[in-house]
């Protein structure tokens, strides 16, 4: 089993000098290639904070994050941006897309940053938007798409860079249950067919039910991890 994410002893304290908020406490997290894992917990339990630290968007107060063998806390700011570009796909709760670009341009953009050749970009944009069921929306701007469609474009965009894994912070939070189910179908399909590793946070039970591994966070601590439970039993 290839390790993709190895987070050791992660803690995050906001406002350490004034009113300290211990958002994440002493978390260990280990993710292998091909996993489809949900990070669950009530609002304020530290899901976003933990995902941001794993994704290299925020620095932990303590601990270290090793991705594919690289300790990302050692990277300089621009190296870190470049590392994210090539290794991590992001799907946020909202505001994933550039409003002035069409669906296909939004997907292509990330590959352009990676300096992929035009032919490869075009081919992949077509494939990805087809696999998220938006072949007929290639030239639509984000404001011409529904919330669910926008999130599907965001998943396609996250996949476009061929990352080590995809971090999705409450990707279904703004979606109705039907759109949420469709998005989960697509993520599952990508996980199965393209062997893409997913780590997504949610507090929606219907989404939790679709995960193969569930890590529960309470007050910034891991309360349970289905992977460990399975091993124990």
């Amino acid at each position: 089993m290839q390790t993709v994410i190895d987070a050791h002893n992660i803690s995050k304290v906001y406002n350490p000098d004034t009113i300290p908020v211990h958002a994440v406490n002493n978390v260990h997290l280990h993710l292998n290639r091909g996993e489809f894992t949900a990070l669950v917990g009530p609002s304020g339990s530290g899901k976003t904070t933990l995902l941001n630290i794993i994704g290299g968007l925020d620095a932990p107060s303590e601990g270290q994050v090793v991705i594919n063998g690289v300790d990302i806390s050692n990277l300089k700011p621009n190296q870190l941006i470049d590392f994210r570009l090539h290794n991590i796909g992001f799907v946020f709760q909202a505001f994933n897309l550039i409003p002035v670009l069409t669906a296909s341009e939004n997907v292509e953009f990330i590959m352009l940053l990676q300096k992929k050749p035009k032919a490869e970009r075009n081919k992949r944009v077509q494939e990805l938007l087809a696999s998220v069921g938006l072949s007929d929306k290639l030239d639509a701007r984000p404001n011409q798409l529904s919330g669910g469609q926008q999130q599907r474009v965001a998943v396609a965009r996250a996949l476009a860079s061929r990352p080590q894994f995809i971090l999705a912070d409450e990707p279904t939070a703004n979606l109705d249950s039907h759109s949420a189910a469709t998005l989960l179908d697509i993520m599952e399909k990508m996980n199965r067919e393209e062997d893409v590793t997913f780590l997504f946070s949610t507090h929606d039970q219907r989404v939790i039910d679709r995960a193969r591994r569930v890590i529960t966070l309470v007050d910034g601590r891991i309360e349970s991890d289905s992977a460990e439970t399975q091993i124990k039993h």
């Binding site: 941001n52 994210r84 570009l85 409003p99 940053l113």
Partner: protein, 403 residues
């Protein structure tokens, strides 16, 4: 694709961008057009200076420049000989010049008396065309004088009046002659008008004893471009005399022309400075509105250089889109008004004439100044872009995307 993003972003807030673009266009139009008027005035001043006042080149006895005494003169035949050999010379006028006193029944005034050959004076500076009332000097009629309308007004003179000119001859003796006013003239240079009267050279020579000699030679060339080569030739042929080009004879004209570039540059600079505040403000608003978007872009892997470039690009477009429109408008306006002329006479009255400018101005737009303006616009855009772009760079992706 950065260009596409920048361009489309520019039109996200159509009204705001249009306001800025229009301001830039209007600013450029106004700035460039005023520049064209400046240059038109400069060109007109130059033409008046050369064609109606000092000609291209003047030759004097070296002593004459220091104090205008009648004894500092030059033999006419040697001058004729040199000038006639140079084909670039279109016309020249040999003058006897002396200072003196004009006396009438109602008063007197110090003046410069110019003894001229009527035909040569007409050929070099178009003197006849400035006669407003009465007649130009008649080569056949003795002791006639041409005075300016300005002087006539001041001394209450009229055509047909007799005046007495009191002068110094070559031996510094006082001599005097009576002259009858044949005409009143009026040039574009009011200050000079008041000081100069014109008589036949032969009449003046008779009074001060300078027959066959001249104090001043004014030379008009066919082309401005021949100035330096003719100047060199004359210096060689007439080393004993002082040869001066129009720049030396009329340094104020040369100064006006050389300061035009600076003036217009300062003018454009001020306009651009004002515009840059609008541009900076607009772009700061744009960056602020797109905090989440820019944060998201940095999160997914757009590096700082690209973020910076994206904002700079958009700012440059915002600043530069309007400029060509304004410049084109200025060019068309200049083309049209350069043809019809702008008559400032009714507005400015005589004040333009008092400074030696013709009241009708034909604006000119020199190409190198238009290009220079474009460069300045570009520089302004880049400078104006820096602040908003830095603002964008300071965004932290985590904070920007937190909902």
């Amino acid at each position: 694709m950065l260009t596409i993003i920048a361009w489309r972003n520019l039109w996200r807030n159509r009204t705001r961008s249009l306001i800025i673009t229009t301001s830039v266009a209007l600013g450029m139009w106004a700035g460039t057009f005023i520049m064209a008027i400046y240059f038109g005035m400069g060109e007109a001043r130059l033409r008046i200076a050369i064609d109606n006042e000092v000609s291209h080149i003047q030759v004097h006895h070296p002593g004459f420049a220091d104090d205008k005494e009648a004894k500092y003169n030059m033999p006419m035949d040697s001058l004729d000989q040199v000038f006639q050999q140079i084909p670039a010379i279109k016309a020249y006028s040999l003058r006897s010049v002396t200072t003196g006193m004009l006396a009438t029944t109602s008063g007197s005034q110090g003046i410069q008396v110019n003894g001229v050959d009527p035909a040569a004076e007409q050929a070099t500076r178009g003197m006849k065309d400035f006669v407003q009332e009465g007649d130009y000097l008649d080569p056949e009629k003795r002791n006639r004088v041409l005075v300016s309308t300005k002087l006539a007004q001041k001394l209450k003179l009229d055509i047909g009046n007799k005046i007495v000119l009191t002068l110094l001859d070559t031996a510094n003796n006082i001599t005097a002659g009576a002259f009858r006013i044949c005409g009143l003239y009026h040039t574009n240079n009011a200050p000079l008008d008041e000081l100069n009267v014109f008589v036949r050279k032969s009449d003046l020579d008779h009074l001060i004893g300078t027959a066959g000699r001249a104090h001043e030679a004014a030379i008009l060339l066919h082309r401005d471009d021949d100035l330096d080569s003719v100047f060199q030739k004359l210096k060689q042929a007439l080393p004993q005399y002082r040869i001066e080009r129009w720049q030396e004879i009329s340094p104020e004209t040369a100064l006006v022309l050389s300061s035009l570039d600076t003036y217009s540059l300062v003018f454009i600079f001020i306009i651009l400075l004002a515009l840059s505040f609008g541009i900076i403000n607009t772009m700061l608003m744009a960056v602020l509105e797109r905090t989440r978007e820019i944060g998201m872009l940095m999160a997914v892997g757009m590096n700082k250089l690209k973020v910076f470039g994206m904002v700079v690009w958009e700012t440059i477009m915002l600043a530069v889109v309007g400029a060509p429109v304004g410049l084109l408008a200025a060019w068309l306006t200049t083309l049209w008004l350069g043809h019809t002329g702008i008559n400032l006479g009714p507005v400015m009255g005589e004040s333009l004439r008092d400074f030696g400018y013709a009241p009708v101005i034909y604006p000119i737009l020199p190409w190198h100044n238009v290009l220079q303006t474009m460069q300045l616009v570009l520089i302004t855009a880049v400078v104006a872009a820096i602040f908003p772009a830095l603002k964008a760079l300071r965004l932290k992706p985590v904070e920007a995307i937190r909902t």
